[in-house]
């Protein structure tokens, strides 16, 4: 799995790390059950703080793409089809980005999604 981060970019480093993993899962480069590098090792490798990596992993966990287990580290989960799940998360990100550009409030975005779900 390739991690590429740019410390000078506006996007937080933890989000950049998360999006590298998400991309790899979406492309099928990382399969279900595969283990991500240990946070400490990846942090040393990229020259960032370990907590930055952990924040990125935490986000992926909230997106349902990985599981964090004590002793076993981070393992790709993502339901029956991790690649499709990763795609879905990307689509949600796009939705949020477009809504921000339009200046919608969080509540307005949630209402929009709720309306979509109701039909």
């Amino acid at each position: 799995m390739l991690f590429r981060i740019d410390p000078s970019a506006t996007q937080p480093l933890s989000d950049q790390i998360a999006s590298c993993v998400r991309g790899a899962i979406a492309d099928g480069g990382v399969a279900r059950g595969e283990r991500l590098p240990a946070a400490r090792e990846l942090a040393e490798s990229l020259g960032v703080n370990m907590h930055t990596v952990l924040r990125g992993y935490q986000r992926l966990r909230e997106e349902g793409l990985i599981e964090l287990r004590r002793g076993r580290g981070a393992v790709v989960s993502g339901g029956t089809d991790p690649a499709a799940q990763a795609h879905l998360v990307r689509t949600v990100q796009q939705l949020v980005e477009e809504a921000r550009v339009l200046g919608l409030s969080d509540q307005q975005v949630l209402d929009l999604v709720r309306t979509g779900l109701a039909h």
């Binding site: 390739l2 590098p37 090792e41 490798s45 960032v48």
Partner: protein
């Protein structure tokens, strides 16, 4: 090595076993009436101390002969042995065949027209003749090993691709992946461990130890991770973190992705050292080949090695 050559070489290994089995089977079919009802099948020192029915002698003997032949034939066919490996395996195979043939046929002839097989004994002269037959057969195997078409010369540095990975200044990159292995590898490791557990359960602790070791060492390789970043190439993590190997970027001249066959390129699996190159090879297929300053190479079998090689080349370009 083309398919026909592999098949022919496998046949050369199977041949002595098949021939001996044929001779032994024919002798038995012709003369089993001349054997005592209870035949000697086990000797301690030179004297018989184990007996069996005639069927209990002939079927296991034929089974062992054909089984060994199939084993050596399959090793040659699937292992694609290079000349160095054939020079070792052929004499062993031919010597083994001669030893078994001499013992099976010899003890058969020894018992012809005997009233009882009790106490039948081999003589020192028999053993001497047997040793000569085994050595001769081993020598024939050694000569046969070099027959047939020559192995193609390895292409030095030619095979493989050395791409680059586009990176903007200020970017940090790290590529990491677990070392690949095959289902067959896992099966072998699993069976060796199972054998160790069984041996231990039966109380054979001393026999279990080597199996345990041979099973556990490859198991440790399964958790190995390859990492490429600004520091260079790092092999090892998890269980082996302390024993990991790091090749600093200063010592790296370049990298490429290459197809590797463990038997052909390294004469075996595991951590291998060959003239000019060393490596961690766990399966057939793609591998990351790191070209070191000074001309040596380090090879590790890992998937997505093209990306790893591209990143490493980019890092080397920028140092």
């Amino acid at each position: 090595m083309d398919h026909d050559t592999r098949l022919r070489r496998a046949a050369v290994l199977v041949l002595p076993y098949a021939a001996i089995a044929l001779v032994y089977g024919t002798l038995f079919a012709m003369w089993s009436g001349r054997l005592p009802e209870e035949v000697a099948i086990h000797f301690s020192g030179l004297t018989a101390d184990g007996y069996s029915s005639q069927a209990g002698m002939v079927w296991p003997a034929l089974g062992v002969l054909l089984g060994m032949g199939a084993l050596f034939g399959a090793a040659q066919y699937f292992g694609r042995m290079p000349l160095e490996a054939r020079r070792l395996i052929y004499p062993v195979s031919y010597g083994c065949a001669a030893l078994m043939g001499y013992l099976f046929i010899g003890t058969f002839m020894l018992q012809l027209d005997l009233e009882s097989a009790r106490g039948v004994a081999l003589s020192g002269r028999h053993m001497l003749a047997g040793s000569v037959v085994v050595l001769l057969s081993g020598y024939i195997g050694f000569r046969l090993a070099a027959l047939g078409p020559q192995d193609p010369a390895p292409e030095p540095g030619g095979a493989g691709v050395a791409p680059r990975l586009p990176m903007s200044p200020g970017q940090q990159a790290s590529w990491t992946r677990a070392v690949g292995t095959t289902g067959l590898g896992l099966l072998v490791v699993g069976s060796v461990l199972l054998a160790a557990v069984l041996a231990a359960a039966l109380g054979a602790w001393m026999a279990a130890l080597p199996s345990l070791l041979f099973g556990l060492v490859p198991l440790a390789f399964l958790s190995v991770r390859v990492t490429v970043d600004r520091r260079g190439v790092r092999i090892g993590s998890g269980l082996l973190a302390r024993f990991g190997k790091t090749i600093p970027l200063e010592r790296i001249a370049g990298a490429r992705s290459q197809q590797i066959s463990p038997m052909k390129d390294f004469q075996g699996w595991g951590y291998r050292v060959r003239p000019g190159r060393s490596g961690l090879v766990t399966r057939t297929g793609e591998a990351l080949t790191v070209e070191l300053v000074g001309g040596r190479e380090f090879v590790v079998t890992v998937d997505d090695s093209k990306t790893a090689a591209a990143l490493l080349n980019t890092l080397v370009d920028g140092k």
